[in-house]
């Protein structure tokens, strides 16, 4: 990076006018030229699997939509009157139903694309070697997204939200040792009250997003640093490169517009429902179940007998799931030789199949 041209925009050093002046100003203060030349030199490989490169960007798009619609919901949502305020948003505020529907749909689509992104990275072995931190930061982002999903699901305070939150926190409470303490800290006591909504709201709208952002920037910066991973079964010399800017960027922009269209059409045609206000005295509604991305765990818990030997069945189920998720998160540690890579690949197929089977089974068993 020593003999770089000073300005990557040709002629900007001498050109008159507002834009060159702004570029010169920013360059002298923050080194914009370096940034621009990195952007100009960045290239993205094109090959038969290159379509997967867009999925991370799609996840990012849905996250940005979550931020924007979240800011809007923040204007009217009240954790002290959760159901009433969401009811007011969807019935009194103009386009409030749409904003809330987009937020809910985008949350689900973000988890979908995050899963697709993760599995495509896994099966292309893009977590390998020096890319391990990309994998670990991605796993952290997924866990935070799950936390955002869980806390956000609770906030409308309707029946399903109430029981999902109750079950979720009871599951957390059954963790040996610190479980009940953590659950009580989240709830602000033994029961779900206004205090609980205030806390889940604080986590959802402040704590988790603030934790999310720096990890997201690390993740994106690591992509810049290591470039796009090319699967090993492709011959590197036969692979064409296209410039990131403008070619890939414009393609990504089109993908984002398609996502925006899909999102708004889904949100408008299938507005997210708001159930009746939660009432602890009413029995849990029949067929109640969590969001689809918790369905596999849900089904596994349902399959466990009440006791397996001396251990509660619930704990065995959770233990199994936690062990599998932990192994998944640490896969860069296992995958170090070609022989192991093959085993990891089979393990990945088994995990994906297990998740899909449990999820479908869960829906059939409702």
């Amino acid at each position: 990076m020593s003999e770089e041209p000073r300005y990557s925009l040709p002629g900007v050093e001498t050109q008159k006018g507002f834009v060159p002046a702004v570029v010169r100003y920013l360059d002298s203060r923050i080194g914009l030229a370096g940034f621009l030349s990195v952007l100009r030199k960045k290239e993205v490989p094109v090959h038969k699997h290159a379509v997967w490169y867009y999925v991370g960007g799609i996840t990012l798009f849905f996250f940005v939509m979550q931020l924007l619609t979240g800011f809007l919901l923040l204007v009217y949502y009240q954790p002290t009157a959760p159901h009433e305020s969401v009811q007011a948003i969807v019935s009194q505020v103009e386009f409030g139903w749409l904003v809330r529907s987009v937020h809910s749909w985008s949350a689900n689509l973000m988890v979908v694309s995050a899963f697709v992104h993760m599995f495509s990275v896994f099966f292309m072995r893009a977590y390998h070697g020096k890319r391990d931190l990309l994998w670990y930061s991605g796993i952290l982002l997924l866990m935070l997204a799950f936390g955002l999903g869980f806390t956000g699901y609770a906030l409308p305070g309707d029946e399903v939200a109430y029981f999902a939150t109750k079950v979720g926190l009871d599951v957390a409470a059954s963790t040996p040792g610190v479980g009940s303490t953590i659950a009580n800290l989240l709830r602000g006591g033994e029961d779900i009250t206004t205090t609980t909504f205030q806390r889940l709201f604080a986590l959802h709208a402040a704590v988790l997003p603030v934790l999310f952002m720096p990890i997201l920037f690390l993740h994106l910066w690591l992509v810049q640093r290591h470039g796009n991973h090319v699967p090993e079964d492709l011959k590197p010399e036969s692979i064409k490169q296209v410039p990131f800017f403008p070619t890939f960027f414009l393609n990504e922009l089109i993908v984002w517009l398609l996502c925006l269209n899909l999102l708004t059409v889904l949100a408008a045609i299938f507005p997210w429902e708001l159930g009746a206000a939660a009432d602890p005295l009413k029995p849990a509604p029949l067929g109640i179940h969590p969001e689809w991305y918790y369905m596999a765990q849900f089904q596994l818990l349902k399959l466990m007998p009440s006791e397996i030997g001396p251990v509660p069945g619930e704990l065995v189920g959770m233990g199994l799931f936690t062990a599998a998720a932990g192994a998944w998160a640490l896969v860069p540690l296992f995958d170090r030789t070609a022989k192991r890579a093959r085993r990891v690949l089979y393990g990945g197929f088994a995990a994906l199949t297990g998740l899909i089977v449990l999820t479908i089974w869960g829906y059939l068993a409702i």
């Binding site: 809007l72 505020v93 103009e94 904003v99």
Partner: protein, 157 residues
């Protein structure tokens, strides 16, 4: 045909891209603006035209109280001669709620020192540019009734 070359292919492309971008900006911007501009309960109290207060005798001569007129603060004064006067209590300078000061017999705004006449609401000294917005008082019945003036001027303040 000279006009054939007025728009180049590039110009047409720019217009199309610009038009699509503007359409998206409008389609996204309009709901956002409407969303922010329509808080729930915004209309509550804005259609209040009349407020019934206590019996006339409940108010001492030379006193002033604040009450709610819809969503806006208002002031009822009973003058030393027994007459009533009422105003919206938002200062015409920058909207602080004014107070009646018995000692000086004046309506005073603590924010920037505006002073109004307690019988007429006229701005007497300090920064206020206009008199307080008036309300009509009917003290002939069992209760004092305060009404928005029929010929609604700029009282919405």
């Amino acid at each position: 045909m000279k006009d054939e070359n007025r728009f180049s292919r590039r110009d047409v492309g720019k217009i199309v891209v610009g038009g699509v971008a503007a359409t998206y900006a409008g389609a996204l911007g309009y709901p956002v603006v409407r969303y922010l501009a329509s808080p729930p309960g915004m209309d509550e109290g804005s259609d209040v035209n009349e407020v019934t207060l206590d019996a006339p005798d409940a108010y001492e001569r030379g006193s002033g109280i604040l009450f709610r007129f819809g969503r806006k603060p208002a002031m009822l004064l009973r003058r030393p001669d027994g007459a009533f006067a009422a105003f919206f209590a938002s200062c015409k300078h920058l909207g602080c709620t004014v107070q009646y000061q018995e000692q000086q017999d004046r309506i005073f705004c603590a924010c920037h020192g505006g002073v109004y006449d307690p019988s007429t609401g006229r701005n007497v000294s300090g920064p206020p540019p206009r008199p307080l917005d008036p309300l009509e008082v009917d003290a002939t019945g069992a209760k004092v009734v305060v009404r928005r003036p029929r010929s609604a001027g700029n009282e919405a303040g």
